[in-house]
Symmetry: C2
Subunit: 196 residues, 2 copies
Amino acid sequence: MTTTRRRRGRPKGESGSRDLIVTAAEHEFGEHGYDGATIRAIAGRAGVDSALVHHYFGTKADLFAEVIGIPLRPDIDVPAILEGPRDEVGERVVRYVLEAFERPEVRRRGVTMIRVAIGSKVMSPPLVGFLSRELIGRITARLDAPDATQRAALVASQMAGLLVTRYVVKLPAIADLPVDEIVARVGPTIQRYLFD
Amino acid sequence: MTTTRRRRGRPKGESGSRDLIVTAAEHEFGEHGYDGATIRAIAGRAGVDSALVHHYFGTKADLFAEVIGIPLRPDIDVPAILEGPRDEVGERVVRYVLEAFERPEVRRRGVTMIRVAIGSKVMSPPLVGFLSRELIGRITARLDAPDATQRAALVASQMAGLLVTRYVVKLPAIADLPVDEIVARVGPTIQRYLFD
């Protein structure tokens, strides 16, 4: 458990409690799904009072959105990816997402997020909201094309399918491929969706 | 409820019971997930005895595999798609899958299948088994390439992502696109994965 990973600059006690709650939430959502997880159980697992969970994170939906938001930081990363050499954007997108998911803590959280968000009707809209706002919106804002939203959404469709097949259901022919191989094969797809 | 849709040639009574059981199973898996659904509840919903469900379908896993297998018939359709004009295979793959999912009964079953299989750790392996055997295996067998399995798996990754974003989580920028538009944009991706 690291206490410096996020919300740097806040008092250490709060940061530690927040981390404990988020980690507990990941486990509860992962084990019981969105509908089965409760703030009470999450608080119990984190060793804090339910009121503290509500105080820091609001509702269960807010807390899940927080859990969703952790693995990737589109606000920082999307501009960095899109602002490099244009003819390598596709490969950079694929490499960025895969290298993030190769890290065990991101993979664990990300897989839980994908399982819960796809497995539960209730949680699909928050995921879509997150994807639309944080990812597709940010990509669209930097593309100079009238159909930028559709282009960004097609990118999302390929990347979502890659994450689902490689990390969630673990389709062997995808899960066994080295990252470099996937970057080389899928990068041109992303490039074409964005710019072709 | 149609009774002629599947298992044609069997006695009508058996066919009718099987259809009732499969429909009941779709609903139970969709509402309660794989772990929550029981043979007893499925039998109750279908108005038959549990023993009949076991007799026709074996275990709960077997029954789910049957439900998974219903929307598409890869054994018939994959050869037909791959054996047409080679330079349009990519577009035919996309059109075939999308046109199937545009049909309400396929969409309902398919979305349930995807939600359950991705949402439950238990059900991912059966889905992977089905995809590997029925879809990727059949495509691979018809591709003349040493890396045919990887090519087929990349196709699966894009198509899985398309189904998840368009029909399961309903990402607006994908869900709102006409089928023809998606065929035109995603077809070349599939074409490249298969043959490039």
